[in-house]
């Protein structure tokens, strides 16, 4: 009898454990079923196209008549001048847009955070360029940069500077300045083209609103007591910004930096629409606004080089991935993420 009792306990506990495992499995099933639609959509529209792009990048020829060429397209890209020119333009563009977008975004967000009357209205005003059609905005900005009658040259003339040809000027900005003063400077010092600067100004105007909103959200999350404590310790507004706002806003800043860098490296719409509005060839004038995305698009639709264009797309993805990992490794720690 005693034996019976002693054996019944382990059996019951075994049964309970099995029931629990079955229940857990059932829950897992349900969980997997819940994520299945999302997984299927992401798989169909994000993951499969990546594999298809990898497949195409190893082929050459017309649509439906591909010929396998292995890594030829990658070798062609890395050994050709056009790819490297596009890479330089891409980084120039990213360097000209990202820091300014973030700095101006933070500046205006901080101003709005100071309890300006009608904050909601300003918020909408700053965010509007981000949601307005890029094509429409590009047409307006092409007028602004018109060499003959544009607002940009009107301002330059009013402050005593020489007018520029903006979107149709392929020369580097320092080259233009040096030419105006009859100086001779080496080719490497020419700087980004005036056309790329014009596109960057448009891009900063358009993207800044997004950063303002994100920074504003980050600022409202900073506890007010910290500002009060700092003020009681005698901190002036600049010190408040330097020692309270900046450190506590670091996670938001990190997010904005990562998103902005990725966005600027992938930027296409602004350049494409400005090229069109200014009657330029794609990436023009003379390839001075040809970023990697624009170069890729041109190879795809003008040259019908589907394999080569896919190889460029994948190389750009690797560059963005490497940069993002770098940012996470070296910046994330400082922002305590």
């Amino acid at each position: 009898m005693a034996q019976t009792i002693s054996t019944a306990e382990p059996v019951r506990s075994q049964v309970t454990a099995r029931t629990r495992a079955t229940f857990r499995r059932r829950i897992q099933w349900v969980a997997y079923l819940y994520i299945l639609p999302a997984f299927a959509i992401i798989g169909a529209f994000h993951i499969l196209p990546v594999f298809y792009a990898i497949y195409i990048s190893m082929n050459k020829g017309a649509i439906n008549k591909f010929v396998f060429v292995g890594l030829d397209n990658y070798i062609r890209a890395l050994s050709g001048g056009e790819f490297w020119n596009a890479l330089v333009v891409t980084f120039s563009y990213a360097l000209m847009t990202t820091p300014f977008t973030i700095a101006l975004g933070l500046f205006f967000a901080y101003l709005l955070y100071q309890g300006v009357r009608g904050r909601g209205v300003y918020r909408v005003i700053f965010f509007l360029p981000y949601v307005i059609s890029t094509v429409g905005s590009a047409i307006v900005w092409a007028w602004v940069f018109d060499p003959q009658s544009g607002l940009a040259n009107f301002i330059l003339k009013r402050i005593g500077l020489e007018p520029l040809r903006w979107l149709i000027e392929p020369s580097g900005i320092f080259e233009v300045i040096a030419d105006g003063r009859h100086w001779t400077i080496p080719t490497w010092a020419y700087g980004p083209s005036v056309a790329l600067i014009a596109v960057s100004i448009f891009s900063i105007w358009q993207s800044m609103g997004f950063d303002v909103i994100i920074f504003l959200a980050g600022l409202t999350n900073i506890p007010g007591e910290l500002y009060e404590a700092a003020r009681m310790d005698g901190a002036n507004p600049l010190q408040l910004f330097r020692h309270v706002t900046i450190p506590l806003l670091a996670p938001t800043t990190f997010f904005v930096v990562v998103i902005s860098v990725i966005g600027s490296l992938q930027s296409f719409n602004q350049i494409f629409t400005m090229n069109q509005a200014a009657e330029q060839s794609l990436g023009g004038p003379l390839g001075s606004t040809s970023t990697l995305t624009v170069y890729m698009f041109d190879q795809l639709y003008t040259f019908s080089n589907y394999g080569y264009a896919s190889a460029i797309a994948l190389l750009l993805s690797l560059i963005i991935l490497a940069l993002t990992l770098f940012q996470f490794k070296f910046l994330a720690r400082r922002t305590q993420i």
Binding site: R25, Q28, W29, Y32, L36, F39, A40, G43, A44, L48, G61, A62, I63, N64, K65, A142, W143, F145, D146, P147, Q148, R165, W166, L167, I168, P170, S171, Q276, A277, A278, E279, Q280, S281, L282, G284, P285, L286, G287, Y301, T302, F303, S304
Partner: protein, 454 residues
């Protein structure tokens, strides 16, 4: 358990992949017309079908015609559908020609192209490369639905596209063409001491020197991306060729090309010319009396007229002329999109040909001309256009120059990128970034690489 889940997810993906993959296409065929065509046109006029078809053949027709042209095209389609009970064409605007090309390419990749689509010949050459379109020669020769010998005499050869790289077969037909002409401000020309537009390029430069008052008034405005068509006849009218006779290499860097590019360089160095910074800036500046000459399509005639009117008729006397030429006869660049038929099935392909042929007939052509200011395929259409020509004398003048028409090497897929290379060369020269020799050498090198498929 895990394995089951993985299998389930893979199955789900497989189902989606299958759903996204091309539908089983009807057996593609480039076969000649079958014995019993479902709908025929007996004559080059808008004749009704010979017999009602047992089953309606539905055709998807993708085009790039918007606004008034789309309206006019839809009206023509409705007329065709009413007169051909066996065929139902549905026209769809798919954006400008470059957007249209992108959409067709994507549709080919997806295995579901339209039944027929408008496109430039170099784009159609890419469709041929993809084995997506059918040659039309057999349909054209077919005694029931094809062209008669009289038809072929009546239709200008520049409306029948033969592709040299593909056995000289006809892969597309056109129902519209325009040509590039020189627009001139007659008052400015007269003030500069000229009573007629320049006949040669030397005269052109003399007129530019006399009339230009930079920066307010210039002689020529070049599109910011260059002007490959303008350059093409600048070469032809100097006795040069863009391509070798065998079509194996580009030759626009030779003497005629170099002379043309040197003239362009002079125009910019002497500040007789400027680069456009906005679309249609040349039209606007022409209407404001700021530019003596512009080069553009005859399809732009209505736009020039309205731009001049909108600007308060500052330009009183203006006209169009054949571009200057050093050759005995003038040469004009005739261009425009064509229609290609995609590989679907024999019935659809045949019906698509019937529709294109109908569009090339006199009555539909005349209607289309009135809406678009394009040129019709048939010489005989001129009779139906008598009133239109009377009301639009400049159009009538240009129609008389079709006989001087030449076509760019647009039947080569490499021509599209080559146009960009030429444009870049022109922009480089205009900006002083390259000498004419350097710019042309670079452009030809790239063009030949594109021609070789590199």
């Amino acid at each position: 358990m895990k394995r089951t889940i993985v299998i389930l997810l893979v199955l789900a993906l497989a189902v989606i992949a299958a759903a996204c993959s091309p539908a089983a296409a009807p057996a593609p065929t480039a076969a000649p017309p079958t014995a019993a065509p479902q709908a025929t046109t007996a004559a080059p006029t808008t004749a009704p079908t010979s017999a009602p078809a047992a089953k309606t053949v539905e055709l998807q027709f993708w085009h790039g015609q918007s606004q008034t042209q789309e309206k006019a095209l839809n009206a023509l389609i409705a007329k065709f559908n009413a007169s051909h009970p066996g065929i139902k064409v549905t026209g769809t605007f798919q954006g400008g020609y470059s957007d249209l090309y992108k959409k067709v390419t994507a549709a080919i990749a997806a295995g579901s192209p339209p039944d027929l689509a408008i496109g430039y010949q170099n784009d159609i050459a890419n469709y041929i490369n993809s084995d997506a379109v059918v040659p039309l020669d057999d349909y054209m020769k077919d005694p029931k639905i094809g062209f008669t010998a009289d038809d072929l005499k009546d239709i200008s050869p520049s409306f029948i596209d033969k592709y040299p790289q593909f056995g000289n077969k006809v892969y597309s037909l056109a129902f519209m063409r325009s040509m590039e002409v020189m627009f001139y401000n007659a008052d400015m020309l007269k003030a500069a001491g000229f009573d007629k537009p320049p006949a040669t390029w030397d005269d052109f430069m003399k007129a530019c020197a006399a009339a230009s008052k930079p920066p307010d008034v210039v002689c020529y405005e070049m599109p910011g991306s260059g002007a490959a068509s303008t350059f093409s006849y600048m070469v032809w009218t100097r006795g040069g060729e863009l391509m070798s006779a065998d079509g194996k290499s580009f030759t626009f860097d030779q003497k005629a090309g170099l002379d043309a590019m040197t003239m362009l360089s002079d125009l910019f160095t002497k500040k007789y010319a400027i680069l456009q910074a906005k679309s249609y800036q040349d039209q606007t500046d022409f209407s404001l009396g700021k530019v003596l000459f512009t080069f553009g399509s005859t399809a732009g005639l209505p736009y020039y007229t309205s731009a001049i009117k909108d600007a308060g008729n500052k330009v009183k006397n203006w006209g169009i002329a054949v571009p200057p030429h050093n050759t005995p006869n003038p040469i004009v660049d005739v261009y425009g999109p064509s229609v290609a038929v995609f590989k679907t099935n024999a019935d659809k392909q045949q019906a698509a040909f019937v529709f294109i042929k109908w569009l090339m007939d006199n009555d539909p052509s005349a209607e289309w001309v009135k809406a678009s200011a394009y040129f019709p395929p048939r010489a005989s259409t001129k009779t139906a256009l008598a009133d239109y020509i009377k009301a639009n004398p400049l159009y009538g003048e240009a129609l008389g120059w079709v006989q001087y028409g030449r076509v760019e090497p647009t039947f080569y897929a490499a021509w599209n990128p080559t146009r960009n290379f030429i444009g870049d060369a022109m922009v480089a020269v205009a900006n002083g970034k390259a000498t004419p020799e350097q710019a042309l050498k670079d452009a030809v090198q790239k063009a030949n690489a594109a021609l070789a498929g590199k």
